[in-house]
Symmetry: C2
Subunit: 209 residues, 2 copies
DNA sequence: CTAGTTAGTTATTGATCACTAACTAGGTAC
DNA sequence: GTACCTAGTTAGTGATCAATAACTAACTAG
């Protein structure tokens, strides 16, 4: 059967299928045949829309980047306490990973990186931008005397990002057996408790484990 | 030229070459031809020592596991404060990653996982064992009233492991541009400061940023 | 010295891919 | 309704790999 669609609609279909399938079989094992079947096309039809497979990956990276930036803009745009903005950033990122599990798979895939330096640079740049946003939220919370004043915002942001990445990896290896966002909230609570300035009167004990 | 060696010696040579090269070109892009050339053999000679490539990967995973367990045993064997054991565990792991950069590459490689469920399970099991050791050290430090008593050891261990993984990923993406162990020590200091019980009299301020 | 074993070789095969060439049918402008 | 454009098709190519077949030279036991 031959179903014709507009070039633009097909491009988007192929992009999203690639992204979804990359999360299932792994970025490097994903063939154009698999993508084509998924969107209901023959394999060569993919090359009507993307000159090379590399071009397809570049577009995917671009798509991920735009999606992330949009999410971050929304999370940082809302007014409120810096600590709340920090939570919002992390939650947004985890939701994005949960809905698009290919993201860590692509980020972690050394294959794609060594094959394509541009993609690696783009992903590294994205990570740096996210780090900047997190560090900024931490710095503001520190300046508002909510976080300890000996807390280095850059290092704090590295810990928060490590929290996300460790969680994403464990989630991935576990076969996506738990809720990323809920687990993330609990861990972030703990991490933030460690960041928080402790006044002399406050002792906040819970019963031990 | 035909250089004969004992089967056992060759097996080890091939294993170590695979491990090293996996870190350079990526686990899934690594061909038996590349491995063979590296140890000075022809490609089919590899199959004199490993029945299939899968078998080679299984052996690599086993080798990594044994190396890790040995390192952990040494780090936890030494007597001393629980907090010191925690630092020792993290430092050991980072040293291991620094000397064998393929480890995160293999751990993160979704390709290998989807192709080989056994490998994935083995790696997940290793991660769980490490998590157990870290959690135990944290629990002991908490019971010794060094760490806060509302600190859940499992969650604390997840944060510490996230620290390692985030660091390893950043190190890998950055082209291994910094010292893993030093950077790790600084971040672990920060993380442990967040775990530490704060007595009412202690305020520990440094000048801000 | 000889027979058997084994770590190596060269040559080849079959599978899997990305990508191309040549053709075809659906949509649209006039 | 005809000419043109373009999103599709089928068929096929060349590259890359893991793995095999058949043979060979080095070592080793008797």
């Amino acid at each position: 059967m031959r179903i014709r669609k507009s070039a633009e609609a097909r491009r988007l279909e192929i992009l999203q299928a690639t992204l979804r399938l990359a999360g299932e079989v792994g970025p490097d094992r994903l063939t154009t045949e698999t993508v084509a079947r998924d969107v209901g096309l023959t394999q060569p039809a993919v090359f009507r829309h993307f000159a090379t497979k590399q071009d397809l990956w570049d577009s995917v990276a671009d798509y991920i980047g735009k999606t992330m930036e949009a999410g971050w803009a929304e999370a940082t745009g809302r007014r409120g306490a810096a600590e709340h903005r920090l939570r919002s950033l992390v939650a947004t990122q985890l939701r994005l990973i949960q809905s698009t599990p290919a993201i860590p798979a692509i980020l972690f895939s050394r294959e794609l990186h060594s094959r394509n330096a541009a993609l690696r640079k783009a992903l590294f740049g994205l990570m740096r931008r996210f780090h900047g946003l997190v560090a900024r939220a931490i710095a503001e919370a520190r300046d508002a005397t909510v976080f300890r004043d000996d807390l280095d915002p850059d290092d704090g942001a590295f810990l928060v990002i490590g929290l996300i990445q460790g969680l994403a990896l464990r989630w991935s290896l576990s076969g996506r057996a738990f809720g990323l966002v809920e687990e993330g909230r609990r861990l972030l609570d703990l991490q933030i408790r460690g960041f928080t300035r402790v006044t002399a009167t406050r002792t906040q004990n819970r019963r031990p484990g």
